[in-house]
């Protein structure tokens, strides 16, 4: 691979003189129904065609990293819930994983299983919501979204029983998880997981063959295999482009090597593939969940974590396959109980790098669905 040209050559750039017409500049956002939060795209339109796009970030910037560099390690845990506020569990997990690398805590087996269970439930939650919003961006008036929300609600109820909160779970701790399963939780979880494929079937009947969705989403926002790697895309976006790279399989963090599951791979790298890869990933998650619930061992839920978390000087980069892609935490310790450097590698922020490239030459409506298919959460993009 040779160094690629920095600015994408695809699409076209027309000046006012060349075309003899005006280029319309539209600021799409920060308050726009389909920017998924306070995000802005400065579009230059020739008629309806996007000739230039500039993403504008920072409307939700809280400087999470700075806050985390002021407080001790365990105190950052509830703040990580607020990064990608749809997937609190996986954010917790990624942070705990990095911190455990820093100080090398053994995590008991039961805790690892619990992490897998909540992590895969989170994947269901996120993909449900994303697909719902993606179809909403396509213009369906909320029906698929509300079906997806209906199913998501059940899993959020599970989270509430388990951790006390629906989204801001704050459940995973360094060296384990906070509390054990309440009575009857596992049965309820089993019931929901067993019922989930029925919902997926219904959903696929509703959506996947729909001619309008096919016409709208296929061949839109194509990222080729090489481009996807070059853009550092991760998660379903990368796999939709045909790259077999799932950190659950590659790193095998936690106990993912014990489960039998497969990675869905798309062949075209367009919006439809991203949508379908997520649909298929949900089925694989259900598979993992069934195995994890079946094999859940008894035992401790907390390892021997020190009371005061004071790692030796050093650094650690831990990453997991969050529903949106690679979520990494880069921690540098200087020996104090406060992290010297706390860096989040947010998947949706990095995935946005490709937004401009994907949108150029397409219509405004496509820009909206391309943004939808990237799956961004602004809490994570802006941190």
């Amino acid at each position: 691979m040779s160094p690629v040209q920095t600015m994408p050559p695809r699409g076209y750039h027309l000046s006012k003189d060349e075309l003899g017409a005006d280029i319309l500049e539209v600021a799409m956002g920060p308050h726009h129904p389909s920017t998924h939060g306070v995000f802005r795209m400065d579009l230059k339109l020739d008629g309806e065609t996007v000739v230039d796009l500039k993403p504008v970030f920072g409307y939700l910037h809280r400087n999470h990293e700075k806050i985390a560099e002021d407080i001790s390690y365990p105190m950052s845990m509830p703040f990580t819930d607020r990064l990608d506020y749809l997937c609190g569990m996986t954010n917790n997990w990624a942070y705990a994983l990095s911190a455990e690398k820093l100080i090398e805590i053994e995590v008991p087996e039961r805790a690892e299983y619990l992490r897998v269970i909540v992590g895969e439930l989170t994947r269901l939650v996120n993909h449900c919501l994303l697909i719902g919003f993606f179809i909403n961006d396509l213009g369906a008036l909320g029906t698929p979204l509300l079906y997806a929300l209906r199913e998501r609600e059940k899993i959020l109820d599970l989270f509430e029983v388990l951790s006390g909160a629906r989204m801001m779970v704050n459940y995973i701790r360094f060296g384990g998880v906070r509390c054990d399963l309440p009575e009857g939780w596992l049965g309820e979880c089993q019931r929901i997981v067993d019922a989930f494929p029925a919902f997926l079937d219904e959903y696929e009947t509703l959506l996947t063959e729909n001619e309008i969705i096919i016409a709208r989403a296929q061949n839109v926002g194509v990222v080729t295999r090489e481009e996807a790697i070059d853009f550092s895309l991760t998660g379903p976006m990368l796999r939709a482009s045909g790259v077999n790279y799932d950190i659950r399989k590659v790193d095998r963090y936690g106990i993912y090597d014990r489960f039998d599951f497969k990675i869905p791979i798309g062949g075209h790298g367009d919006c439809y593939d991203r949508f379908m890869v997520r649909m298929l990933e949900m089925r694989e998650s259900v598979k993992i969940l069934k195995q994890a619930i079946r094999d859940l061992p008894d035992g401790n839920i907390m390892g021997k974590a020190p009371k005061i978390f004071r790692p030796a000087p050093g650094e650690a980069y831990g990453r997991i396959e969050a529903p949106k892609g690679e979520l990494g935490f880069y921690l540098i310790s200087d020996g104090t109980p406060i992290p010297y450097r706390f860096k989040v590698r947010p998947p949706s922020f990095v995935n946005l790098t490709a937004l401009r490239h994907m949108c150029l030459g397409h219509k405004v409506a496509d820009a909206v669905i391309i943004l939808g298919s990237i799956d961004i959460v602004l809490g994570e993009v802006d941190r």
Partner: protein, 219 residues
Amino acid sequence: MPQRETGPIGDPTAITIETTIGYMGAIDHQGVIRRFPELEWDDFSGSLILSPERVDEVVSWLKEDPAYRLDYLSCVSGVDYLEKEEKTRVRNEAGKMVVKTSLSPEKMEVVYHFYSMEKKTGPFILKQRVHSRENPVVTSLTPHYRGAELMEREVYDLFGIHFTGHPDLRRILMWEAFQHHPMRKDYVPPNDYEYEPTPHGDVLQRARERREELEGQSP
């Protein structure tokens, strides 16, 4: 050696996907040290430390060399080190870890985490280090990895590190008129918030005091 997927996108049958993948393999650092013996290798954090001038050469070698093929840039982070007395653990002649006190000069680093998607190896850590906090300039990796574009913009915005060769170096999270770089260690948040009387003020004051107290502690 897994076969690399070929064929044009749009033709699903043309894709052959490797059927087995192993655990994430560690990267053989010795090769890099052999190839660039003059470069500083930080054994402690397992990273290659570069001055900005050598970046293009080293990175394109790492990307092209068949033994490495670091095609995926995962994470770009800036780190700011103030001048301070530092206690480092070093291995002495007897092979024991001892704590050594030294005065570490002020410096700024941009840390890159590389992985190889082709060979499923990683991470490889590369640090660009500059010994100036006034106007640090490093070389951008965006010409090699387009994924670095936004992450380097973020480092520029929050740390004030300039990237030469970056196509679109603007502030990203803070607004254009903002003067400072908030992730720097000596950044003091301005006291110009829209003030509202809250009963919380006392609590914040005490938290600040405690933070100062904590910062005064040494490990």
